[in-house]
């Protein structure tokens, strides 16, 4: 039962460091604004803190994984096909986790850390949460143990998944051949995911395989006429590490304190940006307003000058 494998992330870290150095040298030559020393320090410190937090809660998470495995439907052996199947299903579980992390504020409070940089480089990949355990993000992997995959296999596949996601956080690479872009998550697809442009909000949740987004209708390609801008819809605007780590949890606490009783839970389980008095914007609201404006622009550009002068742009 105590089968374990070495943590592949331990072996990947030197490569992470080397690639960040190479990307910095590229930035120095081509686009110095792609890196910002304080932002890099925050991202790497978040990554370090995330590792420490992971060590603290690892025992608890593994105990729950084993408990789930104890009541499994069947026993899946450590066969080559099982590794492949586990990796694919773990990536599907990641998609479910990641989509929830953007659509449920409780999960978002933990995941928002990864998106709070206004830069998109390899150091951003390491900007990881300290509060994943509080957000119970591990529950999305439990079904794999319940099916019958050994926890050690699932955690190993999860680590490989995480390593894959490191290198896609870059602007150095533009596009890969079409067949690769069709199946795999790539820098281009993931740039869209980190964007604040209304067109791109809450899209491309994939970890390794972009096919999940194509299957579930959440895929949007990067387009040249709408260059990606990174960060949050309301940028955090602070290099305070503690604030970066906990700001959304503080926001939830404030909302729970001030909201009427019957609306309090909405500030936990509804979309980020939801408010009971509609005083804020969700990503859906923002995209709808943007689409309305695009439609208005299209209609006026094809009408006469008189019609254009009479027409009013949509407000708000």
């Amino acid at each position: 039962m105590m089968t374990t494998f070495p943590n592949p992330i331990d072996f990947a870290v030197p490569a992470f460091v080397l690639l960040i150095v190479l990307e910095m040298i590229w930035a120095k030559r081509r686009a110095p604004e792609k890196y910002e020393p304080k932002d890099t320090l925050i991202s790497l410190s978040m990554g370090f803190g995330s590792t420490v937090a992971g060590l603290i809660v690892a025992g608890g998470v593994y105990t729950m994984a084993v408990a789930a495995y104890d009541v499994r439907l069947t026993t899946i052996p450590f066969a080559w096909w099982a590794w492949g199947l586990c990796f694919v299903l773990d990536d599907l579980a990641y998609y479910a986790f990641h989509r929830s992390a953007h659509r449920v504020r409780w999960f978002w409070a933990s995941h928002v850390n990864h998106h709070s940089s206004q830069h998109y480089n390899l150091s951003t990949a390491l900007r990881q949460t300290w509060t994943g355990f509080i957000a119970v993000s591990f529950i999305f992997r439990l079904p794999l143990m319940l099916i019958g995959f050994h926890p050690a296999m699932v955690f190993f596949c999860g680590a490989i998944n995480l390593i894959y996601q490191f290198w896609i956080h870059t602007e150095v690479v533009d596009r890969f051949p079409r067949w690769f872009e069709a199946v795999m998550n790539t820098p281009s697809h993931h740039r869209v995911h980190h964007a604040t442009n209304p067109r791109y909000l809450d899209r491309n949740y994939a970890g390794v395989f972009i096919i999940w987004d194509r299957m579930f209708g959440t895929f949007t390609p990067e387009v040249a006429e709408d260059p990606v801008r990174y960060g949050l819809v309301r940028q955090i605007g602070s290099f305070n590490l503690i604030w970066v780590a906990f700001h959304e949890w503080v926001g939830i606490a404030r909302d729970l304190w001030s909201a009427p009783w019957r609306h309090k839970l909405g500030y936990i389980w509804k979309q980020p940006g939801w408010s009971h008095d509609n005083s804020r914007d969700t990503s859906d609201h923002i995209r709808q307003r943007w689409q309305d404006k695009q439609a208005w622009k299209t209609s006026t550009s094809s009408s006469s000058v008189a019609d254009q002068e009479a027409a009013q742009p949509p407000v708000g």
Binding site: E33, E36, K38, D39, F48, Q118, P198, G237
Partner: protein, 133 residues
């Protein structure tokens, strides 16, 4: 345990070395708002449906105040190698000191910003008092 401690130390050292390298390479640069057109572009990046009709630039390019057709006011300020926008409401603390307007948006970890708006400063200070709550 010793191995874990060594890993801990090496990780911390790597973080500081990488951040130091970014600093030594002078990455990030010196971002400033160059002119009204630049401010307009940044504003629309921050709030896509904000169409400025009135713009006041800080003389050093560290920030700007903008007003749109709906009367909303947007503060732009530099944040590292990027810019941050805040739609202002009455909670903003504004203090006028001759040509300088000092604004505090009460963002945690962020100091008040001082904008040198020249002779426009009193006009914008007055407009800030008429903001909705």
């Amino acid at each position: 345990m010793l191995a874990e401690l060594i890993k801990f130390g090496v990780s911390l050292g790597s973080i500081l070395a990488l951040a130091g390298l970014a600093w030594v390479l002078k990455l990030g640069g010196d971002m400033r708002i160059r002119n009204a057109q630049h401010a307009r572009a940044i504003a629309q990046e921050q709030v896509f449906d904000f169409l400025p009709v009135d713009i006041a630039l800080d003389r050093a390019g560290m920030g700007a105040l903008l007003r749109d057709v709906e009367g909303r006011q947007l503060l732009l300020r530099r944040h590292g190698a990027a810019f941050v926008g805040r739609l202002l409401d009455r909670s903003v603390d504004a203090r006028l000191d001759q040509n300088f307007l000092i604004l505090d948006t009460h963002d945690i970890g962020v100091r008040p910003i001082t904008l040198n708006l020249g002779e426009d400063a009193p006009v914008w200070a007055s407009a800030l008092r008429r903001l909705p709550s």
